[in-house]
Amino acid sequence: MKTLRRAVPLLALAALAAAGCMLTSGQFVATYNLPDPFDVNSIAFAGTSVDLNTISEYKDHKDELKRVEDLALVGNFTNLAFTTAQLEVWIVPDGSLTTLTPQQVKDNGTRLWGPLAVAGNSTEKVDWDRSSALFVGRQALIDEVKGDGHFALYVLANGGFSVRVTQGTLIVVVGAAI
């Protein structure tokens, strides 16, 4: 009986020791605000450079970053054209490449998110839950988050388009040691 009485606390201690940093970790939300407003159209096409190192939640946990737990791109997406737009967001690993053409974006990047259908002259508010379901290229963003944290984002749409993104924010939930 004495052995048993000692066994459980010892097992618990052993489990805690084995757990190590597993227990001293947490999930932290980092948010990166895109330019507001972020105007994109098929004539004056351009991307935006994202440097996660400029936000403290990311910078503070970057060295201990173990896992990307959740991703979202939220904001108000306004279609300024008359016809319905199928919006997509693409990621290009090199954060300095913000002046590519749509074809170059497709050649050098990865579709990250979308399509999101936005009717002509209307606005779609995309919240966290909806955005999470729109992600198709999670791994590409995870690689960037775990890498240098510096990349470029592009908004693309079908045909001739004109889109305004307001209060656009990239949300990254990182799993990191504390």
Binding site: A7, L11, A19, T31, E69, G75, W128, Q167, T169, I171
Partner: protein
């Protein structure tokens, strides 16, 4: 498969002396309470319910297969000034087994540890983790075969490198279904 048969063999070997001593008691119980996320910025607190089958093998040893389901709460953050977004909380389903050392007779104090599998599901998330728990329970026999308990436990659902942790507080009721003679 070979390992599983070894585990069954070892388990039966361990149970044999207890069975001879007439000490095996099997019960059934339900419980409910609250689950509080620990160091999780993207989840809120939620409710938790479950069922368990406590098996008293020896005076100081019990095992308890269990199943629990919890609905963690939504989390709202201000993504940009004046723009709030909400992430729904995960539905967490856990099954596993606890090993406990009960002290006392009518009033029981029992530390326990457990292992199992926890699945987290919500829009855009469907993941399963190995779940560990460590806790302390206090049980009261309120009438023959019927007892109530209160427990506090730390649950850690591990991905290997990090874990999602919850502090669970529950109230439960158990009924002793049968004892070996």
């Amino acid at each position: 498969m070979k390992r599983a048969w070894w585990a069954v063999f070892v388990g039966l070997a361990l149970l044999a002396p207890a069975a001879r001593a007439g000490t095996i008691t099997l019960g059934g119980g339900v419980y409910g309470g609250m689950s509080f996320p620990v160091l999780q910025d993207d989840q809120g607190q939620g409710s938790l319910f479950g069922a368990r089958l406590p098996v008293r093998l020896l005076p100081l040893l019990a095992v308890e297969p269990f199943y629990s389901t919890s609905a963690l709460g939504d989390k709202t953050i201000e993504a940009s000034p004046g723009f709030e977004v909400t992430r729904e909380g995960s539905d967490v389903n856990t099954f596993g087994v606890n090993v406990m050392v009960p002290f006392g007779t009518k009033t029981l104090l029992y530390p326990y540890v457990g292992i199992g599998s926890a699945s987290f599901q919500r829009n855009g998330q469907d993941e399963s983790f190995t779940s560990y728990d460590v806790g302390l329970g206090l049980g009261f026999t309120v009438m023959p075969k019927f007892s109530l308990d209160v427990r506090g436990e730390l649950q850690a659902a591990s991905s290997g490198e990090t874990s999602r942790k919850m502090f669970n507080v529950t109230l439960g009721a158990s009924y002793s279904i049968f004892s070996t003679p």
